[in-house]
Amino acid sequence: MIRLENVTKRYPGGQEALSGLDLSVDKGEMVFVTGHSGAGKSTLLRLIALIERPTGGQVIVDNQNTRRVKRRKIPAYRRQIGMVFQDHKLLYDRPVFDNVALPLIIAGVRRRDAARRVRAALDQVSLLHKEKQSPETLSAGEQQRVGIARAIVTRPKLLIADEPTGNLDPDLSLEVMRIFRRFNEVGVTLMIASHDISLIDKLGCRRIELEEGRLQQEVDPWL
């Protein structure tokens, strides 16, 4: 699903966020990316989401080489990927329902179909009863679940999450991870950046550890 070949990302000013990184994630896998802040976790996810372009190497997502995705095609490319952010990135001027419906509206889904899908997505994160509320009235954990509902409402094959539990306490974090686990069970590939190693160990997933933009170690509980 995701393959990186000798990927380097150098920012203007000279610092290298990623240096010659090779890695690969299979379809249907749930993988965690760990490392200290500044190790390159976010950069890796930003390259996959095409928020940034690599300085060198290839990033291949679902058999598409991102190098060949033209600027004009980036929106269509991003619509195939669900994204969850540490700060949720919800729109606070509209209710929960409209936030979750946004990717469907962008994709041009009919209103009636959209409503059904939005409710299905909210149901999966157990927030169906809060669809009319403003995100502001929700707790941090609930806001993050709205963010997740929005990421999965278009039913993407790949979901990437950047520190999705960064602002949550351990119980809420575990709940969010369980939600991710459920998606993984129905075939969604997940790549989650996190530094919460004790939580990751509980889930028993493969862990890719980065340090200074390089692969430090891979921990695979099944090997």
Binding site: P75, L91, R117, A120, R150, R155
Partner: protein
């Protein structure tokens, strides 16, 4: 229940047909943009008012020029001219000449003012009666005041004047249309000035709407970034701003029409009074349907152009970070 929901969630995303999608999207965006304007009634009203005044200015100036042309146009072709006859032409000869040219089709009527009448009139009006009494004889000639018929064009009028001026009896033809022509020349200049002014005001409207849209974009920067992050195209994030520009233009155009009509309504009284003074039937020409459509059309065009220009420039800059 949970099972069906899950099935819904798993089903692939189905899009509606491209055309109906396009229409639905635009309709909901149009309503949404209008809703945003309505939620800030005072700010929106002020901007629409500025646009309306800016549109109403050239529209009303244009109307003034149009009316002035109509009024002066009715003067030009029905303007009397005076034919001063030679001193040696006698009163009876003058009468005969008057009757003769009065029969022409292109002349409506001829009035003879005899030298004696002219002198008497001059005495009365000038107040030099005593001084004029000292004159040994009447220095004034007999005069024919010719009123051309209404069917004359300005070209045939000049020919008529030349023809009568060339008669052996006539000494000099005094044409009073010179000032009308000068008036027309002035009107032409005014009309040009109105066009230039209208163009400048059009630029002003583009700047006003563009600036408003730019502020709007800055205020919604985060929203734009987030929507782009989850796959919105530039066209998608631009759309609400285009509609905002459209509404500004449309509502501004309608309000401009209302302003012009109100101005005409206020002028109705004074014009009727003036018309009464001249014993003429001057009615103001107001905006017709085509004029109204043009004003609103220009408003909408400028609104769309300004928002498109601004949104296209700023949308590309705003990318998720």
């Amino acid at each position: 229940m949970a099972m069906t929901r899950h099935a819904d969630a798993v089903a692939p995303v189905r899009s509606a047909g491209p055309v109906s999608t396009w229409v639905t999207r635009h309709a909901s965006t149009a309503v949404g943009s209008l809703g945003r304007l309505v939620r800030q009634p005072f700010a929106s009203f002020m901007i629409i008012l500025v646009i309306a005044v800016t549109l109403a200015l050239p529209a009303s100036m244009n109307l003034v020029v149009k009316n002035a042309r109509l009024v002066s146009g009715s003067w030009e072709n029905a303007l009397d001219f005076s034919v001063f006859l030679k001193q040696q032409v006698s009163l009876s000869e003058a009468e005969a000449l008057g009757r003769l040219i009065g029969q022409r089709a292109d002349i409506e009527s001829v009035v003879l003012v005899s030298a004696d009448d002219a002198l008497a009139e001059f005495k009365r009006q000038s107040g030099f009666a005593e001084a004029l009494d000292q004159l040994p004889d009447n220095p004034l000639p007999h005069t024919l005041i010719v009123r051309p018929s209404a069917g004359n064009t300005s070209a045939s009028l000049i020919l008529l004047q030349e023809e009568i001026g060339n008669l052996p009896e006539s000494d000099y033809v005094q044409v009073d249309t010179d000032w009308v022509q000068r008036f027309h020349a002035i009107l032409d200049i005014v009309r040009q000035a109105v066009s230039i002014g209208a163009a400048l005001l059009g630029v002003a409207i583009v700047v006003i709407i563009g600036n408003t849209i730019r502020l709007d974009i800055e205020n919604r920067r985060e929203e734009i970034e987030v929507t782009k992050l989850i796959g919105a195209t530039n066209a998608f994030v631009r759309r609400p701003f285009l509609w905002t520009g459209f509404w500004y233009g449309l509502l501004g155009g309608f309000m401009a029409l209302a302003l012009v009509q109100y101005g005409l309504f206020m002028l109705r009284g004074p014009v009727a009074k003036l018309s009464g003074l001249y014993q003429s039937n001057v009615a103001i020409v107001s905006l017709d349907l085509a004029d109204g459509a043009i004003i609103i059309g220009i408003g909408v065009f400028l609104g769309l152009f300004a928002s498109w220009f601004t949104a296209a420039r700023h949308m590309r800059r705003i990318e998720p970070r």
